[in-house]
Each structure stands twice: as structure tokens, then as C-alpha cells.
Amino acid sequence: MKKSLHTLLKLTNFEMERLSKFLFTLMGLTLLFNLVGYIYTPMQHMGKINEYITQNSATTQQALDAFGRFSFYDVTQTLWIAGPIAIGVSGLLLYSIFIWYREWFGKNTFAYRLLMLPVSRMTLYFSKLITVFIGIFTLIATQMLSLFIGHPIVSAIIESAYFNDIGLIASIQMNPLFLYLFPLDFSYFLMVNGVGIVVLLVLFTVILMERSYSFKGIAMGILYGIAALSLVLFPLFLPNLLNNQYILYDSELMIIIILLTIIVGVLSIFTSRHLINKKITV
């Protein structure tokens, strides 16, 4: 047990080294785009106010009436913040596919070496899963750090008369996108990340099906993905199937969805274990 844990850590560290360049690029892009947003958006706003005041010989109050107060929340609503998040999410999603396929289609066929390591192949599987998750959390942490840096920058650029300092936490709470990235409630945090893990588990299963059965595997994978999604979302469509009869409370519905999500996750792990141990082909 101790030895397999040690091997898992070694392999995860190895995978992290391989991810590092891509991850640092994503982190750099996030910080760079965010920083531009923290500087450009408030400067643009102040520019508009100053132009308005100059052209109309307006007072501060008139400018406030025309433009309202600027808050940090306004910056978080821009593409400078949402853009890198979208890039990060899609980048890591693509990496979750790449993390497997590069072993077969790289310059060298590293799949041979990995599959011939004297360790359980599930250790390999979990090291890849953990690596993607570390990548996700690192990007989330980078975004959080960036917001902490951004708040004082924005408040320094916007003149206090035009600044509505609602605080960093309130700005985050108001943004629906951040509710997924930084859930305030622990159970909600578990749910968001649980769903994330299961999505990855299903994706890994689909990839391993393709690696095991080739073209037939693609069809199997697509069907498996659809079946998994349908099973998890089935309770939400229950009222429609029962002529709009709501027989379950929201809390009961949530419990059923969580249970089904766990079932899909466990099923995906067992299917993947069978495929990687018995069916996979170099």
C-alpha cells in the first residue's frame, strides 16, 4: 500500500513536470489578460468621464449621474477576466484528452514504456486524473490571486468620487461565473468538484474505449457518454415524463442526482480498470 502510494506520487510528479509548461502558459495568460483588464477597463472609464466633463463642462455629480459609480465588479464582468477563464477551461479539457493520446501519437510511442511499468496500470490512470485536477486547482488559485492583486489596482486608478468600493468578496459573490470557481458553501464546493471529477472519469473512459476498440470504441464511447449524462440528468426530466407532476422535493432531487453521479463515477472507474488492464492496445 505504502509502495503503491509512493509510485502514485512519483508518477503524478512526472505528469506534473510534463504539464508544467502548458500550465505556466495558461497561468501567465490569465495574469496578463487580467492585468490588462485591471488597468485598461478603469482607465477607459475614467477617460470617458474626463471627456464628458471637458466637453460638457460638467460637474462630478453630473458625470456620476451619466456614468454611475464604477466598481471592481464591473471589471470582473469584462472579457479580460471571463476570456482567460474560458481559455483555461477549454485548455485543460483538451489537455485531459491530450494527456492520453500523446503517449500513442507523440514522436515516440511512450505508451509502450508506461504500460510496461511494473506498477498497477490504475496507478497510471489516477496519476493522470490527479494531474488534471491539480492543473484545474492551480488555475483557480491563480485567478483568485489575480483578483486580490486587481482590486487595489482598480481602486487606485478610479478616482474615489467615482468608485463604488463594494469590496472584493462582494464583487466575487455577485458574479455568477465565480460561484462555480470559488463556491462559498462547502457542500456546493463538493458538488461542483464532484461533478467535475465525474466528467473527467467519463471522458477518460471514453478515451480508453477508443484506445481499446478503435472505431468501434468511438461509437461505444459516444453511447457511454450520452448514457452517463442521461442517467445523471434523468431526475430533472422526471416531472415532464409524469405529466408535470412534481413528486420530489428539490432536496430529494439533489440527493438522487448526487447518488446517480456517484454511480456513474464508480462505473466509469471500473470500466476504465477493465479496459486499461485487459483491452488496451499499443
Binding site: 509510485t7 512519483k10 512526472f14 507523440g106 514522436k107 515516440n108 510511442t109 511512450f110 509502450y112 514504456r113 504500460l115 510496461m116 511499468l117 511494473p118 506498477v119 498497477s120 496500470r121 481499446s212 485487459k278 483491452k279 488496451i280 492496445t281 499499443v282
Partner: protein, 229 residues
């Protein structure tokens, strides 16, 4: 002993192996011979559990393949299998990290024998030197069996000579070697057992020494008889 019993394997509708049974013993060099696409590589992959078989059984010293067995059997494929960005030294460190059977002393010996440079990146090596790195990764393991897939494919004559030398050296001494090749001239005199494959079945299996003594035929002579028919 590596033993294959009634092994069947298909790719789609194409039968590649159709009831293959043979053994490869420790201390002997067994050669799988056949034209391209006859299923030689598939057999090695199947032994190493790198491709599933449809039917049959493969055992190594009576045991089925398991992760622990990768410390007992080494496979040297005909493609580069270490990461291209690794240096020879890093590739050796990687092996040392994961294989309890990795023999550092022997690894250094092989590096000297093949005149490889430890700081060289694998991606920057010639095809011949990449083949040598592959051999290094397999031969430096203290294993009972070594499987080699087409070790002479696409390499220059000097590298070929060096690799041939490996077969008569103590690097493979006492081990069971299972090799696939259709370029048999260089190692013919070193072979103990030959298994001729054709259309997914074993066409002929014989002891090379006995064949030379009893029928006065070399392995190449037998191959000519079989494949020129």
C-alpha cells in the same frame, strides 16, 4: 519458459493469429520468422499484455502476465519508446526509479559498449542510436527473458554489427531471448530455435542446430523452401 497455448487474435475480420502454440526457453535464443504482417509483433505485444488476445493462454514460468512480471520480462520494440525530450541519462534515471530489476552497473557498461553519450537528447539521436537506447533500456534490466522486435530494422551496418555482438555477449547470457526478424543472416548462427509463421499459423518449428546437423540446412535455406513455395 514463455508458453503460448492456442493463441487466437483478430484485427476486425482479419485473423492474425490462428491457434499459435510454442515455447521459448530460458538460456535459449528463439527466433520468430515470417514475412511482414504475419503477426510476429502481435505475438510479442500479446505476451507483454500490450494487446488483448481473443482466445488462448500465455504464461511466463507458469504465471500469467501481471505488473510485477515487467521486472522479469523486458520488451524491446522496434520504435523509440522513451520520451524524445529526455536525455539518455534521464531515461536511465526514469528506469531506475520504477524498475527494481534495473542494474545500474550493467547500464553503464552498455552505454560504454554502444558508445552512447549520456547528455544527448533522445530526439537528437540517429535512428541507430535510438535503437541502441531501446536496447539499453531492455538489456540493463536483470530479467529472465528479453523480447526483441526487429532489432535490425532500418539501421546502418555498423550498428547492426554492434547489436549482433550483443547476442553473443554475456548481456543475454542465461536469459531467454525471443526475437522477431526477417533479416536473419547476421544472427542465424546464434539461434537455438526457429518458429516459422505463415498466415497466422506456425508453419514449422525446429531446432537450428539439429537442422544444420541432420539435414545440412541453414535457417535461411528452410525459409527459402517455405516462403518461395
Amino acid at each position: 519458459m514463455i508458453e503460448l497455448k492456442n493463441v487466437h487474435k483478430s484485427f476486425g475480420r482479419k485473423k492474425v493469429l490462428d491457434g499459435i502454440s510454442f515455447t521459448a526457453n530460458k538460456g535459449e535464443i528463439t527466433c520468430l520468422v515470417g514475412v511482414n504482417g504475419v503477426g510476429k509483433t502481435t505475438i510479442l505485444n500479446a505476451i507483454m499484455n500490450l494487446t488483448p488476445i481473443k482466445k488462448g493462454e500465455i504464461t511466463i514460468d507458469g504465471e500469467k502476465m501481471s505488473p510485477a512480471m515487467y521486472n522479469k520480462v523486458a520488451f524491446i520494440p522496434d520504435v523509440a519508446i522513451m520520451l524524445p525530450q529526455m536525455t539518455v541519462h534521464e531515461a536511465m534515471e526514469f528506469m531506475k526509479d520504477y524498475y527494481s530489476s534495473w542494474n545500474c552497473k550493467r547500464a553503464k557498461e552498455i552505454v560504454r559498449f554502444f558508445r552512447l553519450n549520456m547528455p544527448d537528447k533522445i530526439s537528437e539521436l540517429s535512428k541507430g542510436n535510438q535503437a541502441k537506447v531501446n536496447l539499453l533500456m531492455g538489456l540493463a534490466l536483470d530479467v529472465d527473458y528479453v523480447l526483441m522486435d526487429e532489432p535490425f530494422s532500418g539501421i546502418d551496418i555498423f550498428t547492426r554489427e554492434q547489436i549482433t555482438e550483443v547476442f553473443s555477449s554475456r548481456l543475454v547470457e542465461d536469459r531467454g531471448v525471443l526475437i522477431t526478424t526477417h533479416e536473419i543472416y547476421d544472427i542465424e548462427h546464434l539461434l537455438d530455435k526457429v518458429v516459422l509463421l505463415d498466415n497466422g499459423v506456425i508453419y514449422k518449428e525446429f531446432n537450428a542446430e539439429e537442422m544444420r546437423e541432420t539435414e545440412g540446412k541453414s535457417v535461411v535455406d528452410v525459409m527459402r523452401e517455405v516462403y518461395n513455395q
